[in-house]
Amino acid sequence: MLHSNGDAMDIAVRDERIVGVRGRPDDRVNRGRLGPTDLFGWQANAAPDRLIRPLVRENGELVESDWDTAMDRIVRRTRELLDEQGPSAIGFYTTGQLFLEEYYTLALIARGGIGTNHLDGNTRLCTATAAEALKESFACDGQPGSYADIDHSDVIALFGHNPAEAQSVLWSRILDRRAGPDPPALFCVDPRPTPVAEEADVHLAPLPGTNVALMNSLLYEVIAAGRIDREYLDAHVVGFDELERTVRAYPAERAAALCDVPAERIRQAARLLGDARRLLSTVLQGFYQAHQATAAAVQVNNLHLIRGMLGRPGCGVLQMNGQPTAENTRECGADGDLPGFRNWANEDHVRDLARLWNVEPERIPHYGPPTHAMQMMRYVAGGSIPFLWVSGTNPAVSLPDLGRVRALLDQERLFLVVQDLFLTETAAMADVVLPAAGWGEKTGTFTNADRTVHLSEKAVKPPGQARPDLDIFLDYADRLSLRDKDGAPLVTWHDAESCFEAWKACSRGRLCDYSGLSYAKLREHGGIQWPCDEAHPHGTERLYTDGEFFSSPDHCENYGRDLVTGAPVSSTQYRAMNPHGKAIVKAADYLPPHEPVSDTFPLRLITGRTLYHFHTRTKTARAPQLQRAAPEVWVELAPTDAAGEHIGEGDLVEITTPRGTVRARARLTAVRPGVVFLPFHYGYWDRADTADGASRADRAANELTLTDWDPASKQPLFKAAAARIRLVEHRDGPSPAPTTGAAAPLDSEVAPTRGGPQAYAHESREVGR
């Protein structure tokens, strides 16, 4: 539940409370396995500080209230602003952790009811580049590969992806193959010594920001060695010639210099990739949150296109997601897309959606791409969006450059609604706080990173007056009296299942086709991969078998963007470039980073996760086993960088960037020199000594990150800041970082992280399945 893997589990209930979980042995995704966050995260549901009543701000303070009062304030302010300014005044910022039905409802309300273009999710921060890269290469979102490809591939390449800590069950599946007969070779690109890097046969640790140079070099070597599928290219792909020309400028030596990795190892990696018979590649934040994110992720797609490695067992690309239902935000149009992977630049698609919703096409904003999160925040800062409804996310800790974010969220003139399980740092600044139901307390569907749809059923009642997000959105639509063009209620469903049925109709005929699914079917069969329609009643394992793509100009979701400038490709340009709906190979040159390292800031700061926590720890810090494993922020650095400042294991260090300073205790690891790492989970809600967060804002990694985003995907570049470090004071004992994963200490004296008996899980195997 607290990652994008889609691990299926049963919930144990006693006396109307959740008392445990158990993995489902038959499920195609996890086969019964669960990772630490799923094993223990459920405990947060019962934490005593759950929000159980709506709160409203009175005389500067948040006080307990009731649903009518709270919703009334929201609706009144909405109406006032619609009258004064119009839909451009209203913004919605949602998450990747709600259900499909909740996103679809929100999309209808925002785009079909209110008619605002300002709807995005925090998926912008984790998964936007995955979606954009798929749109660039295939003109449509949709995961080409399948987790089953792990079982068949002979080479697995992981680009900026640490599944050992991000999707541990997926990593277990890879380790199963490594321990079995005919193990696949592993190639890993990561500046940190992750378990993946340790296990890999070839590991490259490039300087952050140089992924495009590295990828271009790998492509150059693969092409030069003749390891391309000419037939496949001629039949199914456009754009190869431009790629061949572009990568000629990136022989291994050039990339070696730019990336600071050995040229011979680049060639070794290229040989591995070039000789693979069944290549599976995965990509995640090491690419998505770095400089030139989309351009780099697209080059991974290119690798598969030039080698013809798509659409058959073991041959696939997994552009990964970070959150449980990130996939659904993309499909339902709760982020920068129209529902059903429809193309905002295609009048026919907009008319089709308008017909489905029974509204005039003009109601649905399509004069440009939907407003992305960072742009929304810019409008909030400037005052042209005075109403922001945040659901299930904590921007006051998870957006970059928190000094700026706190200032813009805290404005008097902003009406801020926050809907969540707990009083997060963001909720503390709200005008209205709505208590929401969590996982296990409501019913809905969700879809993982390999298109597998699961039904998640309510097991217990939400506490106090907390309500499912779906009910809150339905209530809002009702109170606003949102109508279709005939005066009937705009929202035609009343619960999760009826919404799912409506969604099926919306998705029919699109690539993300759910029309063959139903709650009954999901209940009976467990996880099913879309597209699932009449022709594929049991779902579809892989996309793009036989080189058939969803990229014809009339059907595709998106014409793509310029990878450097972000300029949308026009319909005319797209038709000229790809008239027959083939796959697209797109080239990109390396550009130097926007914030270069310097004498004052000689190190590159990257941020990321640990196995034990998710996002801003709203849930995981309330699960004792998880919190104990990683209780406090730390900073990882290489001994050579530490030595220059006389920093030893456990010493208190100051990390500074042009935005601010964070203090953390040092963990010396085998991370590549020139790079420091901070986990981004540690905000302020559980720090007893800060009554007023702003004065001691020195713990959250995002105090330091810069406000910059990839021009194509609009994903913020969390791994792009230039930093320096300084010893504050020597401390005895090791840093509080866990000893597992990439935070593993070089100092062997550090006591290993152990959960103890309360952190054990029982796993049994049933033979003969």
Binding site: T371, R378, A381, T707
Partner: protein, 165 residues
């Protein structure tokens, strides 16, 4: 030679465009994508001017008579000052919204002129059978087209919010 005149004008206009983009980057530093991309594109124009000085020499382009290509698009004095001034600029009530639209419009019109210049140069290069000049015209012309498309796309994207509020 008439071509020399065109080359000289083009060099001047590429430098002008580089400066204008750098100004935009500075003026709109609170609009972070515009800031960063405009800086990158300003560097493209610098590169075009430098390339032109090279390939134009056989056609009479006198390097010493050309203005020096502008320095790398500057940021504020220090990275900290940039971060801080960006926040201050943001909090001020913005007319910067309308300013941005007009700045982008100016980039479109100026860059269109530059693209037409490169088109002429490309035609001359074919007539004179100068492959280096042709190559430069094609690659610089293409990048200039991308600049136009960026400014146009940004203009379309930004105008609804600015003009409806």
């Amino acid at each position: 030679m008439r071509l020399t005149v065109v080359l000289g004008d083009l060099h001047e206009r590429e430098c002008g465009l580089a400066r204008h983009l750098a100004d935009i980057a500075q003026r709109h530093r609170a609009d972070h994508e515009v800031h960063h991309v405009a800086r990158d594109l300003s560097n493209w124009c610098r590169g075009h001017a430098a390339t032109l000085a090279e390939v134009g020499r056989p056609h009479g382009l006198d390097r010493s008579a050309l203005e020096t290509e502008p320095r790398s698009a500057p940021s504020s004095a220090t990275p900290e000052a940039h971060a801080l001034s960006g926040r201050l600029a943001e909090r001020a009530d913005d007319d910067t919204g309308l300013r941005l639209l007009y700045d982008l419009r100016q980039v479109c019109t100026d860059a269109t002129g530059v693209r037409l210049d490169w088109e002429m140069v490309g035609q001359a290069a074919q007539a004179l059978r100068d492959p280096a000049l042709l190559d430069a015209a094609q690659s610089c012309g293409k990048e200039t087209q991308r600049i136009i498309q960026w400014a146009d796309g940004k203009l379309k994207e930004a105008s609804p919010q600015v003009l409806s509020t």
